[in-house]
């Protein structure tokens, strides 16, 4: 008789783990998946192109319902099927609508929640996050009838949202608390180049700004945003894109050890040996996650253990960032600022929209920022991951792999 595997979360991390498991040990488990969204599994990181109109929802579906059927996976999808309780004693999960399901192994992949800044007016209509298809649809409908959008957060998601809304014809201002856009991925030069480029495309910016309140139009809908410097911007749509928080409530309620996320070992096992967790909901060796690459790596390791091979260990590597705005290429990985022991190689050609920076320590790459010309990003990443000694390559390193053919 097959063991029962239950997966909570029909997102990218969870389904990646299932895919890996299916290929590693296709007959070991009977799999049941609970998802709060009423779709199959889709590629969340492609929501930006959907918002821009470059892709449709169908384009970004990874696994449709047919796939679940084909692989004999039971899918419980929709708001009613959100799991509300894990009964570790009886090894079962219970959904909002009462659906119960026994597990031998449980995989928690509940992802994260967008962080909502708790300012006055944050709960008004027209104040949304940018997290799922629901949010995208909402933005699309606003763009058809409304004029002013304000996006809070000059990070990857915020900029992608702003770009999409501009494409959809809205007047968009991005509010960023730092003076540099993407300050967790770019240094000031690259951030500045990016800002210039986005400004060319029509995005407005209010940098180093603090939002103090959102104003009610009298009907429970946002109509303006207020800032610490006294400025007030008209606002029909306010998108909060200031980061995510691991969604570990369910696990915590079930008594699984959590800190900033569900704490897992190098094998992605929680403190309960029957329960594994992957994705944005976890905390591994102090780190939490927001990019897709480590999630996939976690899924692989987790599947390796669930399948009984038990060989792999998860190790966090610096992961690369890309901005999904058509025509803007940027790449960032690792420690791109450096310290007094590191050395910096820089190439810049602002009028050609190119900037590159490599941070080196002990003759190895520890960080890279590429703007404009990112074709060597993957190569730098592999040099970084493999800790390649670049001493001999140094003169041409920044000009790319082509010079080392």
């Amino acid at each position: 008789m097959k063991q029962q595997l239950v997966v909570i979360g029909n997102g990218m991390a969870g389904m990646k783990a299932v895919e890996e498991l299916l290929s590693a040990a296709p007959d070991k488990f009977e799999i049941t998946v609970f998802g709060a969204e009423p779709y199959g599994n889709y590629n969340r990181i492609m929501l930006s192109p959907v918002l821009c109109g470059e892709k449709s929802i169908d384009d970004i579906i990874i696994n449709d319902r047919q796939w679940y059927e084909d692989n004999h996976i039971t899918l419980h999808a929709g708001p009613d099927k959100a799991v509300v309780n894990i009964d570790r004693t009886h090894k079962q999960v219970i959904a909002k609508d009462g659906t119960e399901c026994h597990y031998d192994k449980l995989l928690i992949a509940t992802g994260s929640n967008p962080f909502i800044l708790p300012i006055p007016g944050h709960d008004l209509d027209g104040v949304i996050a940018f997290r799922d298809i629901f949010d995208v649809n909402k933005m699309l409908s606003y763009s058809e009838s409304k004029r002013h959008a304000v996006v809070l957060g000059g990070g990857l998601l915020g900029l992608e949202a702003a770009n999409g809304l501009v494409q959809r014809g809205m007047d968009v201002t991005v509010i960023h608390s730092n003076e540099i856009l993407l300050n967790r991925q770019l240094d000031d030069t690259a951030g500045h180049l990016l800002q210039l480029e986005l400004e060319k495309r029509g995005v407005k910016f209010k940098m180093s700004a603090k939002t103090t309140a959102l104003i009610d139009n009298g009907e429970g809908h946002v109509c303006a945003a207020q800032f610490a410097d006294g400025v007030e911007l008209p606002c029909d749509l306010f998108v909060m894109a200031i980061g995510v928080r691991p969604n570990y409530k369910l696990a915590e309620a079930a008594g699984i050890h959590c800190e900033r996320g569900i704490v897992v070992s190098d094998t992605l096992q929680t403190f309960d040996p029957s329960i594994y967790a992957v994705g944005e909901c976890i905390q591994h060796r102090g780190d939490t996650f927001g990019l897709v690459a480590p999630l996939f790596e976690q899924a692989k390791v987790c599947a390796n253990h669930l399948s009984g091979h038990g060989m792999a260990k998860y190790k966090t590597l610096p992961s690369a960032t890309k901005l999904k705005v058509t025509g803007i290429n940027l790449f960032s990985i690792g420690d791109f600022i450096g310290d007094e022991d590191s050395e910096i190689i820089k190439f810049s050609d602002p009028s050609a929209q190119v900037y590159k920076k490599i941070v080196i320590k002990n003759n190895g790459i520890i960080g890279v920022v590429l703007y404009g010309d990112t074709k060597d990003g993957a190569w730098y990443q592999s040099l970084l991951e493999q800790r390649t000694n670049i001493e001999e390559m140094r003169e041409y390193l920044i000009f790319g792999q082509a010079y080392f053919g």
Binding site: E343, I345, K346, F347, S348, D349, S351, F399, A402
Partner: protein
């Protein structure tokens, strides 16, 4: 008030014209066929197939003459104290100032310093004014630096300054001995002719006697790497050997010579056997033996020599040691046999003919009472000088110590070319009155002039020149005079007239001057009166038309029958085969000579010997060749050749900068480690000036030592020391516009195709490169965009700037001399290409390498066709080529002047090994 309008008559000029003229460079004196478009002011040159010096060949320098005609670097208006002046004001000032100095201090206080670049007509007028009317012998020329030892040697042996042989002898000889002559680079067309002769005549052997293994060794059957300055011992040894072996022509000696006994005694005393010679000359005995045996066994022996013989404190003795061997074997003035001095400059010979050296009076006459009397009567002047003037080095010493107070320098650059050149510079700086006539606007010398006179350039000059084989050729104007420039003979004539000598200087055309010169050469020139070798009196009545169409002809031209049909005139190709020398006895004189070591010996403080010389693609101080991008590619920087052992001993590496110091001065040059030079010796090229380099003037280092007979400086032997120049950074800039780079220790400028190239190094970091460049480029380009590449830890800083997409400048710096190649970046400035770079080119710019897919031709080897080393390598690999001919067929390299053939051979052997 009415304004009159004039109809300007349009002169009918056929726009495109073919004009025959003579090359501006070396003493080979190649004929050129120039196609001139007057409306475009463009000239295309090719070799004149009918000229007997070159039969259509041209070297890289000659081929590039048309690239040096740009007016941007020309001096176009007279200047007085830096301000533009009228000709009348400038000439009046020169005349009155010279007059004033003569009145106050006597004629010895003035001097002219001319050049082998002057035409014979220019020389004649200058010499006549100074020696005939101002009454001073102080008219010397830069020929002093290159030819005067040959002149002295000739005069001592033959009684006259006469070259006995002709170029045709290359094709008739069985042994060519090249002494102190890198013919491959310095007389490339002669070299090609010898190479061809060797191919046609399998018996022809070539011996190269040179301390360095130069490119001329490419065709050598034997290289004799003689110790610098020991040639006298080598040829004394040869004379003793020939005597010992009974290989002398006793009949010739008896009939046509004097002084053999003293000469052979001196020779035997100096070098009585091969072992002694080998020791004195630092040679392997068997090498000496082979050379001597070949010489002995080969009747048709031609000894070609140039600066390696002449530029020595025993230069005259070297010449006579060589001539002694030829006299003793009767091998002189015969088909394929004779001593043959190769002159360096296009008209060194013409200058010697008119008497343009301080040690000559005029027309092959000297300072005897008889000679002076002849000259006085011919010129109808009672003020002809009765004593020699000061030769170059002494002359500038006299400027330095204030004895000479007014000097007029014509068409030459002594601040660069003279030994102890820093002293020459100081001398001119403190001189009361310095006049310089030149065709370019800036030379190191011109920059010190009080009066600057714009002279006609090569393409505008009209007159005659004489090459190494006594052949007088016309140099014809291709283009009208640029700006307000005037011919030198005209300028001097006007000054003479303003000084009150209008009757003696009636010339209106160069033909007027030439006729007088021709007449003078025959004046009282007979065995009964005062017999002289130089005699062209047959041309005394030459008409303007005949002068215009005068074909290249060797002197002497005594009979006026020549003018009847000059084209069928029988040249006197060779002289002295049957004696007939110009000594009082009509016999040649053996000169007893003994080896003397160069004057300054190396010691512990100055352990190395500095040798100097020319490069293939440059001429003198680069005022012309420096303008041709093509010519600048071969050797774009001053370098110093040093053996691997000496390099190691002095802590030097290939490509590094070295500081070369002598007791007289210092210079910087890039190290080229080579085994082509002997241990203990180093070599630097002579060409770089302050116009092109900050600290690489060779002249400042060279010792001011001269030959006691010829007064020619010993430029081939100066004791020096060498050390690494430890720069904190190295770099280069290629810029579309000229830059001023003061305060940087090492700066060398080369003109590229569409750019100026600056090679740089410095001890102190430059803080704000972009600021410097932006400031300097602003007048040309306005606002700039910058691309930068920086690796601060490694001291790498590279930047490029653009104006509206057009590349303006590229700066590359690094911690050492291992910098990217310059060729590809340079090609991006090519005016013929799109100014905007392709995106991939722009991204690759600061690597110095083309983006993938664009071929990198490598360092330019063939300057004629612009073929790079990598192109040649690839052709060799792809086509499995083994000979330079194959390479030539494949990519044209080496098929024009052929002077890169040795390099192509090296590439072939490198690729195939």
């Amino acid at each position: 008030m009415t304004v009159e309008t004039f109809e300007i008559p349009v002169k009918e000029v056929t726009d495109v014209q073919t004009i025959k003229t003579t090359c501006a460079y070396c003493g080979v004196g190649c004929g050129i066929q120039a196609t001139v478009s007057h409306s475009q002011r463009t000239v295309a040159v090719k070799g004149d197939p009918e000229h007997p010096a070159n039969f259509g060949r041209l070297c890289s320098k000659g081929s590039a003459l048309a690239e040096t005609l740009d007016l941007s670097s020309r001096l176009l208006e007279p200047q007085i104290y830096g301000r533009t002046a009228s000709w009348d004001d400038a000439l009046t000032l020169v005349a009155s100032k010279f007059q004033q100095v003569i009145e106050e201090h006597g004629p010895e206080a003035v001097a002219f310093y001319g050049s082998g670049q002057l035409l014979t007509e220019d020389y004649y007028v200058a010499n006549k004014l100074m020696k005939g009317f101002l009454g001073s012998g102080n008219m010397d020329t830069n020929s002093r630096l290159c030819m005067s030892s040959s002149v002295s040697g000739h005069k001592r042996a033959f009684g006259s300054d006469t070259v006995p042989n002709c170029y045709e002898d290359y094709e008739h000889t069985d042994l060519i001995v090249l002494v102190g002559s890198n013919t491959a680079w310095c007389h490339p067309v002669s070299f090609q002719r010898i190479r061809q002769a060797k191919e046609n005549n399998p018996n022809l052997k070539v011996v190269v006697i040179d301390p360095r293994k130069t490119d001329s060794c490419d065709i050598a059957d034997l290289h004799v790497p003689v110790k610098v300055g020991s040639d006298v011992a080598l040829f004394n040894g040869l004379l003793a050997y020939l005597y010992q072996e009974n290989a002398l022509d006793q009949d010739y000696i008896n009939q046509h010579t004097e002084g053999f006994d003293q000469a052979i005694q001196a020779a035997q005393l100096d070098a009585f056997n091969v072992a002694t010679v080998a020791e004195k000359c630092r040679l392997a005995p068997h090498v000496v033996e082979i050379f001597y045996r070949w010489f002995k066994e080969t009747n048709k022996t031609l000894t070609l020599y140039s600066q390696g013989v002449n530029q020595s404190s025993s230069g005259s003795d070297k010449v006579n040691a060589i001539i002694n061997c030829h006299l003793a074997t009767g091998r002189i003035g015969k088909e394929g046999a004779g001593p043959f001095s190769l002159t360096g400059q296009p008209n060194a010979m013409g200058g010697r003919e008119v008497g343009g050296l301080a040690t000559q009076l005029a027309e092959h006459m000297e300072f005897s009472e008889q000679d002076r009397d002849i000259v006085q009567r011919f010129w109808q002047s009672d003020n002809v000088t009765d004593k020699p003037g000061l030769p170059a080095v002494d002359l500038f010493d006299a400027v330095a110590n204030g004895k000479i107070k007014a000097i007029w320098i014509m068409a030459t650059n002594p601040v660069v070319s003279l030994p102890n050149a820093d002293k020459v510079k100081q001398a001119l700086q403190q001189c009361e009155f310095v006049v310089v006539s030149d065709c370019v606007a800036h030379t190191d010398t011109l920059d010190l002039a009080h009066v600057k006179l714009p002279a006609a350039g090569w393409s505008e000059k009209d007159g005659t020149v004489t090459n190494s084989e006594r052949r007088i050729s016309r140099q014809r104007a291709l283009l009208p005079l640029a700006g307000n420039a005037k011919p030198d003979w005209w300028i001097i004539t006007q000054v003479a007239r303003k000084m009150g000598f209008e009757n003696a200087f009636p010339y209106e055309t160069p033909a007027d001057v030439f006729r007088e010169h021709a007449r003078f050469s025959g004046f009282e020139n007979s065995p009964e009166q005062r017999l002289r070798s130089f005699n062209i009196s047959g041309l005394a009545e030459i008409t303007d038309e005949q002068y215009q169409s005068f074909p290249p002809t060797q002197w002497p031209i005594v009979s006026s029958d020549a003018l009847q049909d000059i084209n069928n005139f029988e040249n006197t190709k060779r002289l002295f085969a049957e004696g007939g020398f110009f000594t009082p006895t009509r016999k040649a004189k053996f000169v007893a000579v003994e080896h003397r070591a160069p004057q300054n010996a190396p010691d512990a403080d100055w352990p190395l010997i500095l040798n100097t010389g020319r490069l293939r693609d440059q001429w003198h101080t680069m005022t012309r060749t420096g303008l041709s991008a093509r010519l600048n590619q071969h050797k774009p920087e001053p370098f110093v050749e040093i053996t691997p052992a000496d390099a190691q001993a002095n802590g030097l590496e290939q490509g590094q900068l070295a500081l070369i110091e002598s007791q007289w001065g210092k210079m910087l040059a890039r190290v080229t480690v080579t085994d082509r030079i002997a241990q203990g010796e180093i070599f630097v090229p002579m060409h770089w000036t302050a116009q092109f380099s900050s600290h690489s003037r060779m002249g400042g280092v060279v010792n001011p030592v001269v030959d006691p007979v010829s007064f020619q400086p010993e430029s081939k032997h100066t004791p020096v020391r060498i050390s690494a120049f430890s720069a904190a950074w190295h770099g280069f800039i290629l810029s579309r516009h000229p830059l001023v780079l003061d305060g940087i220790d090492y700066v060398v400028l080369t003109k590229g195709n569409g750019y100026f190239r600056y090679e740089l190094a410095g001890k102190r970091d430059v803080k704000n490169w972009q600021g410097h460049l932006a400031y300097q480029l602003k007048p040309y380009s306005g606002e700039l965009d910058w691309q930068t590449f920086q690796d601060q830890t490694k001291k790498v800083f590279r930047t490029a700037c653009f104006h509206e997409g057009e590349l303006q400048a590229v700066l590359i710096t690094g911690p050492d001399s291992h910098l990217p190649e310059r060729e590809w970046i340079g090609s991006l400035f090519d005016p013929a290409r799109e100014t905007e770079l392709e995106a991939d080119e722009r991204m690759a710019l600061l690597t110095g390498k083309p983006p993938l897919g664009t071929p990198d031709v490598g360092k330019i080897v063939c300057a004629c066709f612009n073929v790079g080393a990598k192109t040649i390598e690839n052709a060799i690999k792809d086509g499995k080529l083994t000979t330079p001919q194959d390479v030539g067929k494949c990519c044209k390299a080496g098929t024009n002047c052929g002077s890169c053939v040795p390099e192509i051979k090296e590439i072939i052997s490198a690729v195939n090994s």
